[in-house]
């Protein structure tokens, strides 16, 4: 496993930044005076050139950038104009053309972030634009360059399951150049499709397609097939899986078996044949699979074989291929990707009591019907009843048997209607005089399968819209009588049938414990649906993909399609070299205290402990599995976690950068907005022409969860009046827990603020949806109003850059205090003891209540109230002297 041990020194490589102020054809320049802005920023540290452009992303603008970069020797470009989400292509190409590292092109949003929403307050917009550019410069100075990090990969894929999806995945993987290990639980290959007679819509023999695929895979020198094998353990990350697989004991050595069948003849053990769904029996020693199965060998079922007590097969085998003492075999497969195609099994129809399966032999399931109609089935494909051989003249099909039913399977299995239509075509093909009946609720033969519905109607199948109420055996004929109400005509019916087929639904196969332990994303019914709409292949563990019916009920076409898709997803992590996604996480081991908060908070369980020789554990991220959200960075109390592209130190520097408030008595507020959803709402608000107070400076972050509360601490200490953290809704968070974590952290921080007697209104967490423009405006306005009512940041007042007016007085003194942007007339009174002074009167309403609450000592009421309202205060104290003494 590739580890990130290096302590990465921030590449404070001398950045020479060229700034371009784009007027955006007037959109920006009609609000912001670019010439004044240029004067304000050109002298900042690291800036080698500052130019004004009317249209930076246009051809002349791009040419201007190119010329300036060449002449000034800049190695980084900062364009102040539109946000980073627009004109991305143009700037990507620019970076490439100029030979600038792609991460050294910075975009300060002074359009959607400043000019548009503050067009009603140009003075404020001017100052805010300067602040935003200063913030982006602060970020730029600490920016590390993009360097692709390559790790050796494994050019091997493991496919679990050799049904049609697993076979398609294996074949595609081989075609793409990887090696494949294909494991299959059963002794035969082909899965459910091997048990079908024909497949819709083309009604060809299923054995044809299967043997084609199996053959291709077997012939490929890079493939390995292990039947009777399941996953025992699975450990690793995308690009580096270690999967321990266990093969059942092979009592018959496949390399010595000559397919003679003598072992079967003498075997005394008989059990239900699961391949034929219990319609007939097989021995413990048997040949499994369809008649043209590619696997030549016979097989002894270890679960039912009598073992050493019997040994009849051992004696009779002409090549001495049988050894009943063989043990299960384990091996470790190293793979870059794992594709899980474990498929489905039919729902247990015996649980649908009223339909009689299990107690009436003439009632069978749809899969049993396939076996009856298959040429290698228990009746050799003849349309007769398996239990007594009677030819079938009348046959009924009950749709939605145990499906769309709250007591059985609440969902629809999508293919049973079309499968039944196929069965009616089998029936008519084998016995043209037979009469099929279909009892249905809705016929869901979707898409072009509608053609089969028409054909079934044309060839005489009777469709009755009904859910049969009762099925009873007819002892005279050995068949059944079905009773119910035809909801189309309203009439009751009682129909005698030779056989009744229940169209039961699909249930996902049980997963091996090793896979269950991975807690992958499943639906309520154990299908691996991932994130169903957008990312159906998604699992918590990247590099492990689901294909076929283990994802959801689907027809064969879609199973194959989903396998092709899973292979497409896997190719990123199968191969000789893999590139780690650029914003990877690194740990400064010196700072780390091994508190393991990162491990708990990572939603994808990417962190693990690396144990050194002395037993000391160091949490490290698995870079191949890391999703680059930065939630660990937000959690680390020691700021030991960095993220290459944009990290906590850059956020801190951005938060403390604004030195000037946008207006007199305007607070300075930072809003950390998740760039996935929340930020879009803010941009949209600006584009729609809405305005909001300019005090709010927006800082995009990869996820609300990546915001470390140290940013708020440093921000408040530097004088910020308010901090907002805006995340997406919890069920829309792209990183599962990011917003929830941010909310938790803000709540804890409120406790801290409250205890320190700092107003908790200064910090807020907001959930925002991507199109919630109105909510954005309401929340911002409410927050700014709340902060405006508060006195200035208490840390601002403790660092007075003060000037004081007035001379020395005695006793009570009135002074005007200016403290950065705060200004108030206060009256000071000597405290008891005469050493310290206290504020007992203050003119600014905003500060008054706060100071009264926190600073004024309980006094004699009359004296104080006289002072509070007195206009005859004495002339002032020399504030500087007072401060020197204290």
């Amino acid at each position: 496993m590739i580890l990130s041990q290096e302590v990465r020194a921030l590449k404070e490589q001398e950045k020479k930044i060229a700034i371009f102020l784009c007027g955006c054809n007037g959109e920006v320049s009609k609000v912001i005076d670019l010439a004044a802005l240029k004067d304000a920023v050109k002298g900042k540290a690291g800036v080698v050139a500052t130019e004004i452009s009317d249209f930076a992303c246009g051809p002349e603008g791009m040419q201007q950038i190119e010329n300036t970069v060449k002449s000034s020797g800049a190695n980084a470009v900062l364009v102040a104009g539109c946000p980073i989400t627009v004109h991305t292509q143009a700037y990507k190409e620019l970076a490439k053309k100029l030979g600038i590292n792609p991460w050294y092109v910075f975009r300060a949003d002074i359009r959607e972030g400043c000019a548009l929403p503050h067009k009603d307050n140009k003075a404020a917009a001017q100052i805010k634009a300067k602040n935003l550019i200063a913030m982006e410069l602060a970020k730029a100075r600490l920016q590390a360059p993009y360097e692709p990090k390559l790790v050796p990969g494994v050019n091997h894929a493991l496919v679990i399951g050799s049904g049609v999806a697993g076979l398609a995945a294996a074949q595609d993987m081989l075609h793409a150049g990887a090696e494949v290990t294909l494991i299959e639980k059963n002794p035969y290959m082909g899965g459910r499709v091997a048990q079908l007679a024909r497949i819709f819509p083309m009604l060809c023999d299923s054995a044809c397609g299967l043997s084609f695929r199996i053959d291709k895979i077997k012939k490929d020198p890079r493939s390995r097939i292990l039947t009777g094998t399941q996953v025992a353990e699975i450990v690793g990350a995308p690009g580096a899986w270690d999967v321990t697989v266990e093969t059942q004991p092979q009592f018959i050595d496949p390399s010595r078996c000559i397919d003679c069948g003598k072992c079967t003849e003498v075997c005394p053990v008989e059990v239900d044949n699961e391949f034929n769904f219990g319609l007939d029996k097989r021995k413990a020693a048997y040949k499994q699979g369809y008649s043209c199965s590619q696997e030549p060998t016979y097989f002894i079922d270890p679960a039912v074989c009598k073992g050493e007590a019997c040994k009849k097969c051992v004696d009779v085998c002409p090549t001495k291929a049988i050894d009943l003492s063989r043990q299960p075999a384990r091996e470790v497969v190293k793979a870059g990707a794992v594709i899980n195609a474990t498929g489905w099994k039919p729902y247990d129809a015996a649980r649908i009591e009223r339909l009689g399966f299990g107690r009436i032999p003439a009632v069978v399931t749809n899969m049993q019907m396939e076996r009856i109609c298959a040429p290698d089935g228990p009746t050799n494909g003849r349309l007769v009843r398996p239990h007594d051989g009677k030819p079938i003249k009348t046959i009924g099909f009950v749709q939605c048997a145990g499906s769309r039913d709250e007591e059985h399977l609440p969902y629809c299995s999508t293919i049973c209607c079309t499968a039944t239509l196929k069965h009616t075509l089998y029936v008519k093909d084998k016995a043209p005089d037979a009469q099929p009946y279909v009892f249905f609720m809705e016929m869901r033969s979707i898409g072009e399968y509608e053609d089969m519905y028409r054909e079934a109607q044309r060839n005489g199948t009777v469709f009755i819209r009904s859910n049969p109420a009762e099925v009873r055996e007819d002892p005279a004929t050995g068949g059944v009588i079905v009773q119910g109400e035809d909801t189309g005509s309203g009439e009751r019916y009682e129909i005698p049938l030779d056989m009744l087929v229940l169209a039961t639904g699909m249930v996902p196969n049980e997963q091996p414990q090793a896979l269950q332990d991975l807690n992958l994303l499943t639906s309520d019914y154990n299908f691996f649906i991932g994130h169903k709409q957008c990312f159906p292949y998604e699992t918590y563990k990247g590099g492990l993909f689901m294909a076929g019916t283990c994802q959801e009920p689907m027809d064969m076409t879609n199973s194959v399609r989903s396998a092709d898709g899973a292979v497409g997803k896997s190719l990123a992590v199968v191969g000789r070299e893999i590139e780690i996604l650029p914003n990877w996480t690194q740990v400064e081991v010196n700072k780390c205290d091994q508190c393991e908060r990162c491990m708990e908070e990572c939603p994808f369980k990417v962190w693990y402990n690396e144990v050194d020789a002395s037993g000391k554990k160091q949490p490290m991220p698995n870079l191949l599995a890391c999703r680059q959200c930065g939630i660990c960075m937000g959690a680390c109390p020691k700021r030991a976690i960095r993220r290459t592209g944009y990290d906590v130190f850059q956020m801190i520097k951005m938060a403390i950068e604004p030195k000037e408030s946008v207006g007199e008595n305007e607070p300075t507020i930072m809003a950390f907005m998740c760039e996935n959803d929340a930020l879009r709402a803010a941009e949209q608000a600006a584009r729609m022409g809405k305005t909001y107070p300019a005090s709010v400076h927006i800082v995009p972050v990869p996820c609300a969860g990546s915001v470390n509360m140290v940013v708020a601490s440093e921000g408040f200490m530097a004088g910020l009046d308010g901090v907002i953290v805006v995340g997406c809704y919890d069920n829309e968070c792209h990183f599962l827990k990011g917003s929830a974590k941010a909310n938790e952290r803000v709540t804890t921080y409120h406790e801290t603020l409250r205890e320190m007697m700092i107003e908790t209104e200064r910090l807020k967490f907001i959930n925002l949806g991507i199109r919630e423009v109105d909510k954005f405006l309401d929340e911002i306005n409410a927050f700014v109003d709340a902060v405006r009512k508060l006195p200035p940041n208490p840390f601002k007042s403790s660092k007075p850059a003060a000037s004081a007016e007035g001379g020395v007085g005695a006793g009570k003194k009135k002074v005007r205090i200016k403290c950065q942007e705060a200004e108030a007339d206060v009256v000071l009174s000597p405290m008891k003891g005469g050493v310290d002074y206290e504020v007992i009167w203050i003119n600014d309403e905003r500060h008054r209540q706060w100071m009264i609450d926190t600073l004024i000592e309980p006094w004699d009421q009359t004296e104080r109230s006289a002072m509070l309202w007195s206009e005859e205060a004495e002339p002032v104290l020399d504030w500087s002297e007072w401060w020197e003494d204290h």
Binding site: E596, R597, K617, E751, M756
Partner: protein, 110 residues
């Protein structure tokens, strides 16, 4: 000037593997005075010997939930005064709250 833990804010540095090795206050105390004790709500940090505390206040600074605060002795401040730390990356803000409601703040470097 020993530290006092707020059990509602402290979470015992609860970790996936558990154990005292992982609590920040435990790791960072130069005198090995901090321990985790069992409470109905889970493990919580506690100073095991208040009189041995050398007043370095490292635990107060490093607690990730800011659950620790210092109770100042009478020589320095009135009984019941509380000293709290707000720790940033390079800066630290101390807040001193006297029982009479006076609040003093001091900014410094870590």
């Amino acid at each position: 000037m020993p530290p006092v833990n707020n059990p509602e804010k402290c979470d015992g540095c609860a970790s996936v593997e558990g154990g005292e090795q992982n609590a920040l206050c435990v790791n960072v105390c130069p005198g090995d005075l901090m321990i985790l004790v069992d409470t109905p709500a889970g493990k919580r940090g506690q100073c095991r010997e208040l009189t041995d505390c050398a007043d370095c206040m490292t635990c107060v600074k490093y607690c990730p939930k800011q659950a620790l605060e210092t109770r100042l002795p009478y020589e320095i401040c009135a009984f019941g005064s509380r000293l709290l730390a707000l720790v940033g990356d390079e800066n630290i803000a101390w807040t001193l709250i006297s029982p009479d409601g006076r609040v003093d703040r001091l900014l410094g470097k870590i």
